[in-house]
């Protein structure tokens, strides 16, 4: 009778039911936490990137003599290599955040190289900007790019000798990184500019260059002989030196029979025209000759005018780069930080 009784079995089924529930629950539970709360490393990584960029771009830096601490100042660039000096290598000009001081930039590179013997590394930079913490380290990559560059197509700023102006740190890995961009102002230093000035004995200038240009600016001052004719002509010229195929486009053409109209005097940026012209020509060149050009030239024709053309592979040029202390070259400083 007791054996036949089936109520006893009820709870056996109970047991099965419960166990299934339990196991399925636990099984699913295995991958649940990530759903409930995911690690958000970007928070700290982003702020590190922000911090580094700010300290580079807006901070003139600071040095202090540990022996006699009343000796301190902003011009670490003249001191950093001395003994007992502790310093923070900001790049900004004193009192002008966002404006990069040339010597500071140079010395920053020197200091980096002295301390880590290569630009491919960030061991020292990490330290200086506090990217090493007891529990984790962040890597940083600092580059100076032309304004035109994007996250996917970076164009390094180069000085007129073709050297990369600033690129420090290990290559950016293919993982979650934080990229912080700053638009900075560099002095219109001669190293950053390729300046062509009027030379009465010569009318035609040919400047080999690479595209896209960081910046281009033409400053037209007064005419040498107002009663005579004067002109300015700027062409972009692409050529394949083997097949001698040439393609060009005039992007600036000023031509006066009597050079007495003051309205022509001024400071004209040419960056976008030149770059656009280059892009058009490049495609057209391939279409027409199915070959790619190997030299890019900008040719200038200037007559009877005091003028100078500045081409920069660093960045956009603003202001009269010859006379105005406020003239500047605008480039992008990109700080990329990742955890690892």
């Amino acid at each position: 009778m007791v054996v036949k009784e089936e109520k006893g079995r009820l709870s056996l089924d109970m047991l099965i039911g419960l166990s299934i529930f339990l196991f399925s629950f636990i099984f699913i539970g295995q991958f649940l936490p990530s759903v409930f709360a995911d690690t958000r490393s970007e928070i700290s990584v982003f702020s590190e990137a922000y911090k580094v960029s700010v300290l580079l771009v807006e901070d003139p830096g600071r040095w202090i003599n540990l022996d006699s601490p009343d000796e301190k100042g902003f011009h670490w660039e003249n001191e950093w290599y001395k003994n007992n000096i502790s310093y923070r290598p900001g790049l900004a000009r004193v009192g002008r955040p966002g404006f990069i001081c040339l010597q500071k930039l140079v010395e920053f590179k020197n200091a980096t190289f002295t301390n880590q013997m290569t630009y491919e590394d960030d061991s020292w930079v990490r330290d200086v900007f506090g990217l090493n913490t007891p529990d984790r380290t962040y890597h940083v990559n600092i580059t100076l790019l032309k304004p035109q560059s994007t996250a996917y197509s970076p164009y390094y700023s180069k000085d007129k000798y073709g050297n990369v102006v600033l690129a420090i740190g290990p290559p950016i890995p293919n993982k979650k990184v934080s990229r912080y961009e700053r638009v900075i102002n560099l002095p219109a230093a001669s190293d950053f500019l390729n300046v062509t000035k009027t030379n009465p004995s010569n009318e035609n200038y040919e400047v080999n260059t690479t595209f896209p240009l960081g910046g281009a600016l033409i400053v037209i001052r007064e005419s040498i002989n107002p009663s005579a004719a004067c002109w300015v002509q700027i062409k972009v010229e692409l050529e394949n030196t083997t097949s001698n195929n040439i393609l060009f486009e005039t992007i600036y053409d000023l031509n006066l029979t009597t050079c007495n109209d003051p309205s022509i005097f001024g400071i004209y940026p040419l960056t976008s025209q030149l770059n656009e012209a280059y892009e058009d020509l490049y495609e057209e060149f391939i279409d027409t000759y199915n070959e790619i050009p190997d030299t890019n030239e900008i040719t200038l024709r200037i007559k009877n005018l005091n003028c100078s053309v500045g081409l920069s592979q660093v960045g956009e040029i603003l202001g009269d780069f010859e006379t105005d202390v406020e003239a500047r070259i605008v480039a992008k400083l990109v700080v990329t930080v990742w955890e690892g």
Binding site: D13, F21, S24, F25, T150, L318, G319, E326
Partner: protein
């Protein structure tokens, strides 16, 4: 034996157990997943970067005139045509448009993926200090666009008769705020 298979309560239990468990899990999962989607953080950081850029660009474009004083102004040819100053000075009240050089410079500094709206604000002192504004680039921003501004000082002699600022101040410097609203498309 027969009874055991025909035991309907037991089935009831097992089914309940499993269904209940699954149901609950699905609900919670759905709940949490959905809320992840509305996490604000991504757009937030984007905006920070954007705002920073905005300020940087304005600062870069603010090419202050050296060697100038209230009375004697430099002629326009000494102003870089891609500077804010030039842009403001050349504005024409009949059809206020920023000059192309300025636009080019500005666009070069901001990625193509960034859309912008440009406005200027200034105080009209002759008209009991009302704040007047002018839209130079007219795009309608999305809700979480960021705005940045910069004040440029124009000098009496730089305000020409056809300038929109003309008459706002009588023979004294004018503070013009250039506001740029930026957002990603």
């Amino acid at each position: 034996m027969r009874k055991l298979f025909h035991n309907e309560e037991a089935q009831a239990f097992t089914l309940e157990g499993i269904t209940a468990a699954l149901l609950l899990l699905i609900v919670t999962y759905a709940l949490f997943e959905s809320s992840v989607v509305v996490s604000p953080i991504w757009s937030e950081y984007g905006n920070i970067q954007l705002k920073q850029k905005g300020y940087d660009v304005l600062r870069s474009l603010d090419v202050h005139r050296t060697s100038l004083n209230q009375s004697a102004c430099p002629d326009l040819s000494n102003l870089s045509r891609n500077s804010l100053q030039y842009m403001l000075v050349q504005l024409n009240s009949s059809d206020p448009q920023p000059n192309s050089e300025f636009l080019n410079a500005m666009n070069a500094m901001l990625d193509p993926s960034i859309k912008k709206r440009l406005e200027v604000y200034w105080v009209n002192q002759t008209n009991n200090n009302t704040i007047q504004s002018l839209v130079l680039i007219n795009n309608t921003p999305i809700p979480d666009a960021v705005g940045v501004g910069r004040i440029i000082v124009l000098y009496p002699c730089e305000i020409t008769s056809q300038s929109p600022f003309n008459g706002s101040v009588n023979d004294t410097a004018l503070a013009v705020e250039v506001r740029m609203i930026l957002w990603y498309v």
